[in-house]
């Protein structure tokens, strides 16, 4: 206590005490290992970030470019200044949290108000491009150029000899004039910035052959100009579309039939007689996706049954496995039972077996023809566990209870051992029977510690995609339902079927709208849990 730190003059750097600041100068021992590590990591991060910004700008992805730029600047400020100390620790996690949690929630909400999906999968200019490509034909008098296949960083392109000028382009970049040499055959032999793929390789290597045949290099930014394609690998021909895009009038005209398709506010090109071109773009449709659920009877009926089953599945899963776990815990929470540790290990083994494998395992065991359950326990009767709506529900509940009762067994064992023994003794002295003391003392005390867990377990079962999907794909199918909905589908697996992310017709808009509804439900459940646990008190 004898050493008095020199008092900092008023108004001088409020961040660090003066004593520390002085010792920084004296204790200078060169650049530390930590600093070097930081420098290397930040160099890599910056290199990657700048590369991303450059490619994003090249691909006209301005949103991605600006987000990356902002993140990069923030990261450099945070790690190369002395300020914002807590952010040095929080930033990496926060970036991931914002990109893959907060942003995607917002993005889900955005998609929910669009008709994004099959037939409406991009912007209008993408839709125009795709439509014109589909209408592309080789016109009889179209120009033909000697050409060579060129390659750069795994991207293939076409180089043509246009009189004595070499022009090169890729599917993403229209033709531009570059320096190069034209060989005796009339085709480019050297192209600046590109590697010319030898003719022999184009003709013999199946991978290159395929890539060359699929190449389509636009002549210019205007999609009406057409594109170069090659059939033989040595000449490129201009293909032009029979469809003509008029950006001013917002129409596409089919030159062969004369039909005019006009852009609609529904994101399609529709002709006067109501015919639409297959490719559209996505537009804002307001609350239509939400309203569709209620107005489309074919959709509402199955969705209501799915919603009912979701609640039934989640509630029954928690109640049955909680009851079973508690029962087992009470039976074996008895010091007179020997080998309790061994028994406990046996009982919880289903919990340690990975859940998705258990669901797949039961899928085979419940098979009506060859499954071990019919074969051994039902004398070979062909009970159609997976094909009957009621039996399938029972079976998937059985599976989920088998999976999760050990959790409650563990939790309840712990909670029972934490019960105050004097209260129980007092009850016994007052003449309370076993049932009475269980109902009035054990259960209420137990619920205090387990209710929050039960709520979070309910929220988990509510979205337990893995078990439902692995066990039976949510089947058996509900007859007449659109989007392949099934009787054991819960909301999240129904959304998965509707979304079409795994292939088939996609309806991202409707799926996102349903996700939003489930978010609201889960949020309400969590708010309940939030109040229950009052976790906030921990950091008050």
């Amino acid at each position: 206590m004898s050493v008095t730190p020199p008092v900092a003059p008023p108004g001088a750097a409020p961040t660090a005490p003066a004593r520390l600041r002085e010792s920084h100068a004296r204790a200078w021992r060169g650049i530390g290992v930590g600093f070097l590590v930081k420098l290397v990591i930040m160099a890599v991060v910056n290199a990657f970030g700048i590369l991303t910004i450059l490619t994003a700008v090249g691909a006209d992805s301005w949103l991605l470019a600006s987000i990356t730029a902002v993140l990069l600047i923030v990261a450099d400020i945070v790690y190369f200044t002395r300020r914002a100390l807590p952010l040095k620790y929080l930033l990496p996690g926060l970036i991931f949290l914002f990109a893959f949690q907060v942003f995607i929630f917002g993005y889900t909400a955005y998609i929910a108000f669009t008709n994004y999906g099959t037939g409406h999968a991009g912007s209008q200019s993408q839709a125009v491009d795709a439509t014109l490509i589909q209408g592309e034909r080789r016109v009889d008098d179209s120009a033909t150029y000697p050409m060579a296949v060129v390659e750069r960083l795994g991207t293939y392109g076409l180089a043509i000899a246009d009189d004595d000028v070499v022009r090169v382009g890729t599917p993403d970049e229209p033709l531009t004039t570059v320096d190069g040499e034209i060989g005796a055959s009339g085709a480019p032999t050297e192209v600046s910035g590109w590697t010319v793929v030898p003719r022999a390789e184009v003709l013999t290597d199946p991978a290159v052959q395929q890539a060359a045949a699929a190449l389509r290099v636009p002549l210019s930014d205007d999609p009406n100009d057409g594109a170069l394609r090659t059939r033989d690998g040595s000449t490129a021909t201009v293909y032009t579309s029979t469809l003509v895009w008029d950006e001013q009038a917002q129409t596409i005209t089919d030159t062969t039939t004369g039909t005019v398709y006009t852009a609609t506010d529904r994101g399609t090109f529709t002709s006067a007689d109501g015919q639409s071109l297959p490719t559209g773009w996505y537009v804002n449709v307001g609350f239509e996706n939400f309203l569709r659920v209620f107005t489309d009877g074919a959709l509402l009926q199955p969705l209501l049954s799915v919603t009912g089953w979701t609640f039934a599945f989640a509630i029954l899963s928690v109640v049955i496995s909680f009851g079973l776990g508690l029962l087992f815990a009470m039976i074996f929470n008895d010091p007179r039972v020997r080998a309790r540790k061994f028994l406990r290990t046996l009982f919880i083994l289903p919990y340690a077996f990975p859940a998705f494998m258990s669901a797949l395992l039961f899928r085979g065991m419940f098979n009506s023809e060859f499954g071990v359950i019919n074969d051994v326990f039902f004398f070979g009767l062909p009970i159609n566990w997976l094909g009957d709506p009621v039996l399938a529900k029972l079976a998937v509940l059985w599976v989920n209870v088998w999976l999760s009762y050990p959790y409650w067994f563990l939790v309840c064992t712990g909670a029972l051992q934490a019960l105050p023994s004097d209260t129980l003794e007092a009850a016994q002295l007052d003449g309370a029977g076993r049932w009475r003391s269980f109902r009035s003392i054990v259960l209420p005390l137990l619920l205090v510690s387990t209710a929050p867990l039960a709520i979070s377990s309910f929220a988990f079962s509510f979205n337990n995609f893995t078990v439902i999907y692995m066990f039976n794909n949510g089947g058996p199918a509900i007859p007449g339902a659109p989007y392949a909905l099934g009787s054991t589908d819960i909301l999240i697996s129904a959304i998965y079927d509707i979304s079409g992310v795994s292939g088939g017709a996609a309806d991202y808009g409707l799926a996102s709208a349903l996700s939003i509804v489930v978010f609201v439900v889960v949020g309400a459940i969590s708010a309940l849990a939030f109040r229950q646990t009052r976790k906030l008190e921990e950091f008050a």
Partner: protein, 299 residues
């Protein structure tokens, strides 16, 4: 001497019919019940072990338990993509859990040791954000990765790195809270004395705090690994080509497409994959139970 005392007690119970009846009524009946529960718990596991050893490898032939014992199914796994999937799963789970631990620990350290403006608000925000399951937003994740993939293919659809990033995005909330409580139990005097000795905050974090919180780091790493191991929906959407699949995606394909013929392979694969998990789980039981009761459930 308690052993002898208990021994004579049991002898007494055996000898006196009244005491024996009481023993049966209060303790004895629990053993048959235990056998029943053990049968319920273990039958599927014994069955899958038996099916994995059955050389005929079809669903129908697996019903007679241990009718034939052979390791041909295990050997046949080498001819499939199984080991590629194991490698992918280990890589994705390993990187995701290391990342989750580092980010969670850094976050918990910041919240536990620094007092900064917006601290309470960010803790509450974190708590609210982590309540919403990331898997529900799979459509947005899919579309976002499609967009990113056009610019940075290494982070787009069909990239293991992209899947890891998605897992890391969901990791911060719950893990930070799990660790935050534990960090608060480490006395702050330790930091303060180190600070007086001239240690920087980075030195305090890496050299002092991290060794002290190892138990919770292990629990979070394990939970993150198990979550990545068991995830199907995101892995299925993001990983397109067969050589990028995880075990969950690959084994689902086996069972859903050719249920009857690939059953032996599936059984062998699941026995192999679950033995390390079982061993880890049983050895870390104590910690996992602690972690479970703090709010996480099986994934």
């Amino acid at each position: 001497m308690t052993v002898t005392a208990r021994g004579t007690g049991r002898d007494a119970a055996r000898t006196t019919p009244a005491k024996k009846r009481r023993w049966l009524a209060e303790v004895g009946w629990k053993y048959p019940v235990a056998a029943l529960i053990a049968f319920y718990a273990l039958f599927p596991l014994v069955y899958v072990l038996s099916a994995s050893l059955n050389p005929r490898g079809s669903l129908a032939s697996s019903n007679a338990l241990f009718s034939a014992v052979d390791i041909s199914n295990y050997a046949a796994l080498a001819g499939t993509s199984y080991w590629t999937w194991v490698g992918n799963t280990l890589f994705i789970g390993g990187v995701a859990s290391v990342g989750a631990v580092l980010m969670g620990a850094a976050g918990a350290y910041a919240f536990s040791r620094f007092r900064f403006s917006g601290r309470r608000a960010s803790l509450t925000g974190l708590l609210i954000v982590q309540m919403f399951p990331q898997a529900l937003a799979f459509v947005a994740i899919f579309l976002m990765l499609l967009t990113i993939g056009e610019v940075v293919p290494a982070l787009g659809i069909n990239s293991k790195l992209a899947l890891i990033c998605v897992y890391l995005g969901g990791a911060l909330g719950a893990n930070t809270f799990l660790m935050y409580g534990f960090f608060n139990t480490i006395p702050i005097e330790i930091d303060e004395s180190a600070k007086i000795d001239g240690a920087t905050h980075a030195q305090i974090f890496w050299r002092l705090i991290m060794p002290l919180v190892t138990p919770i780091l292990a629990v979070v790493a394990l939970l993150a690994f198990i979550a990545a191991f068991g995830d199907y929906i995101l892995a299925r959407i993001i990983l397109v080509s067969e050589d990028n699949w995880t075990l969950a995606v690959g084994m689902y394909q086996w069972v859903s497409n050719q249920l009857t013929s690939r059953w032996g392979l599936f059984a062998a694969g699941s026995v192999l994959a679950s033995i390390p998990v079982l061993a880890l789980f049983l050895s870390l039981q104590r910690y996992i139970v602690g972690g479970l009761t703090q709010g996480s459930v099986k994934g």
